[in-house]
């Protein structure tokens, strides 16, 4: 099973640079994705993240996420088209030949554009964040966050969220197997699948709430929250400089296009 958002050991560019450099790189990309509303520029940012991932030997992990992201993207576009009509009508979702409701649910140019921008923005942010997480040991990431004086509660929250993703994935599979053993057959089609989620999602949520209680008590009883801020110095190398410079050049380029309209 492919675990999502988990550290992948390696020795590529991203593994060798300091976590703080990666953090700055991610933050710059996220800011650029939020500030930009040009689909071409967003597409360019997406290509940049992918090139960076391939250069760091992490391309395969990111590529495997594309089908999931495509589904999310299509859903985002679909819901935008349904809920935010704007601009000229391109075509109706229900053909005009259908009696009574024909011509309903119009697809507008504005909604299509906005949905595409949202999907691309989401993809850039997700992939940039994933690049940071899969190339950094969680302990190093936590140390860096502590060095940046992030409060211990937030650091622990971040660490726990990462740690429990694969646990939830596995628990979901276990619950699904238990229900399959009771003759449960998820329905066909989208609605069938949505209805069929209940026997899996409910135990998953209820069990997770139970775990959260024990987890909170463990954190208190092991005294983790009295942890002092890390004071170690941050040492960066030449490679960090290269990655940071590249990110800054990218930011300057995008800003120039946005502001000056190059």
């Amino acid at each position: 099973m492919q675990e999502i958002m988990q550290y992948i050991p390696g020795n590529g560019i991203f593994h060798r640079i300091h976590p703080i450099t990666k953090l700055i790189f991610t933050v710059i990309l996220v800011i650029l994705a939020v500030m930009t509303s040009d689909p071409l520029l967003l597409g360019f940012l997406l290509v940049v993240v992918f090139l960076a991932a391939w250069a760091g030997g992490l391309g395969r992990g990111l590529t495997e996420q594309i089908p999931l992201l495509l589904v999310l993207g299509v859903m985002l576009v679909f819901f935008t088209v349904l809920t935010m009509p704007a601009g000229g009508v391109l075509f109706p979702l229900i053909p005009t030949a259908v009696p009574f409701i024909g011509g309903g649910l119009p697809v507008t140019a504005g909604a299509l554009l906005f949905g595409t921008i949202l999907s691309l923005r989401f993809a850039v942010m997700l992939f940039a964040f994933q690049l940071l997480v899969v190339s950094t040991k969680p302990a190093e990431l936590v140390t860096t966050l502590r060095q940046l004086k992030m409060p211990i509660d937030y650091t622990l929250m971040f660490l726990i969220a990462l740690r429990f993703i694969p646990t939830l994935q596995r628990e979901g599979i276990r619950i699904s197997e238990a229900q399959l053993a009771r003759g449960y057959a998820p329905g066909d089609g989208l609605m069938g699948k949505v209805r069929g989620l209940r026997p899996v999602i409910l135990p998953l949520i209820l069990n997770s709430l139970g775990k959260a209680d024990t987890l909170g008590l463990t954190i208190d009883m092991r005294g983790y929250r009295r942890g002092k801020a890390e004071t170690g110095s941050i040492s960066v190398g030449a490679l960090d400089g290269v990655v940071l410079s590249a990110a800054l050049v990218l930011a300057a380029g995008v800003a120039a296009i946005q502001i000056i309209g190059l």
Partner: protein
């Protein structure tokens, strides 16, 4: 010294107290076992002793608890208490916060005030002691239940507190691993630490502990040496007589040369297996020996990598899970992986609806598992033993020829375990074939027709019980 004086506790929004008039003295350097049925208040008592009830929860308490010469309420909070008391909870997974076992233990060591060099040396010692050095770089989600329990214990031992509480912290370990843990705890007690152990396997732990108390319905009903309390528990139960071996009927499951690989690992490695009508087979073996992987083939959740498998005359290859699960019902170790409805009746009806079966048998099945009258109760409000029996009822109601149970007595006391065994014997008398995985050799020998031992994916010994 810990002194509990007439202590009682009622959780917020509950009408009835969970603990009533508990008085107990636990001398320094002693190891005490707390035992009793599920839902009796053992976990609440552990939470009282660790300060959670006084400093985290908001129920109402009576009486007092004194730890290390100070009343529980005099401590500033759970963090101050954490220098004196540590606790291993029953859900090991929720206590592994960091992303590797090594980090988990190391963080505890650094928090206990050791220098980096001291902490590194201590890390090696603790991992060696619990025989988990090979797991240091492994992420929690890759560990088995037993390995998680050892890792959670290692992180707690690393804190080096004067009082150590273990709430069913060995329930998923095999016999050998349990013995290792009990002997480590005894050594700690001999070094002056106070060990409080909630345990159902009191006969195994008896040789290591000094005192044992029996908790029933929120009160201490017996106390003394572990042998005395064990005798009291056994005297209250009908004697366990060995089940006469039944002549094998027609074969229900036939496996030949069954192999299952996870990547390069041969989790099941060339197993021949036959289950007959009316037969009870127990499969025992260490954690990770391939028991669960094997039984997941019996209802089609896994397909053999090599070999042949036939379930009630249906070859498993080429048939889907819904088809095979009409012949085999599988009850997982943790009942909470399946319970999701808001009443007991709906929970059983779910499986019946899935296979298009009439729901008139629900009352009868509940009667059979001793849950009559609980039709409208929320399954999550039942005790662990009751939930385990409900999970069994959900599958039994579907009436398949074969029932497979993965650790059906985990977290249950002897009386509750015997209730489960009685149900299995009745099903066997009705002609069903039963396969149960268990870490309890006593139950396996007393109730199974055959006991098969697995190691590294193979059967290494079979006992005609």
């Amino acid at each position: 010294m810990i002194r509990i004086d007439h202590f009682g506790y009622t959780y917020r929004n509950r009408d009835h107290p969970v603990l009533r008039d508990i008085s107990l003295s636990i001398p320094e350097g002693s190891m005490i076992i707390i035992t009793g049925p599920s839902g009796a208040g053992k976990t609440t008592l552990c939470r009282a002793l660790s300060g959670i009830l006084s400093h985290v929860y908001t129920g109402t308490s009576t009486g007092s608890i004194v730890i290390a010469g100070r009343d529980m309420m005099e401590y500033d909070g759970i963090e101050e208490l954490s220098h004196t008391v540590s606790m291993v909870f029953d859900d090991a997974d929720a206590q592994l916060i960091f992303t590797t076992v090594g980090e988990e233990v190391m963080t505890s060591l650094e928090n206990s005030g050791l220098s980096k060099q001291e902490a590194e040396a201590e890390l090696v010692r603790i991992l060696d002691l619990l025989e988990i050095s090979h797991l240091a770089d492994r992420a929690p989600y890759t560990l088995s239940g037993g390995q998680k329990q050892k890792a959670a214990l290692a992180a707690t031992l690393a804190l080096g507190t004067q009082v150590l509480i273990l709430d069913e912290a060995t329930s998923e370990l095999d016999e050998e691993a349990r013995t290792l843990i009990f002997s480590i705890l005894r050594t700690l007690a001999d070094d002056g630490k106070t060990i409080i152990l909630v345990e159902h396997m009191i006969d195994e732990a008896a040789a290591y502990a000094d005192i044992c108390v029996l908790v029933e319905e929120g009160a201490i009903t017996a106390s003394g040496t572990p042998e005395d309390v064990s005798r009291i528990i056994r005297d209250a139960l009908p004697p366990i007589t060995k089940r006469p071996r039944k002549a094998g009927g027609a074969p229900l499951i036939e496996a030949e040369g069954l192999v299952h690989c996870y990547g390069d690992l041969r989790a099941v490695d060339g197993v021949d297996f036959t289950l007959h009508k009316g037969e009870i087979i127990a499969i025992v073996g260490e954690n990770g020996s391939g028991k669960t992987t094997l039984v997941k083939h019996f209802n089609g959740l896994l397909k053999p990598t090599e070999g042949t498998l036939t379930i009630a005359g249906t070859p498993c290859n080429g048939h889907s899970i819904p088809v095979l699960s009409r012949h085999t019902g599988l009850v997982f170790q943790n009942p909470d992986t399946m319970l999701f409805e808001d009443t007991v009746r709906k929970e059983i009806a779910f499986g019946l609806k899935n296979i298009g079966k009439d729901q008139s048998s629900i009352g009868e099945v509940l009667e059979e598992v001793g849950l009559a009258g609980k039709e409208e109760t929320n399954p999550r409000h039942l005790s662990r033993g009751e939930r385990q029996r409900l999970a069994l009822a959900c599958v039994v109601a579907m009436g398949q020829e074969v029932f497979v149970l993965d650790e059906p007595t985990t977290g249950l006391d002897l009386a509750e375990s015997l209730q489960i065994m009685e149900i299995l014997m009745r099903l066997s008398d009705e002609g069903h074939g039963i396969v149960m995985i268990t870490h309890n050799p006593g139950l396996a020998c007393a109730f199974a027709d055959r006991v098969l031992k697995m190691s590294n994916g193979k059967f290494i010994a079979a006992t005609e019980a």
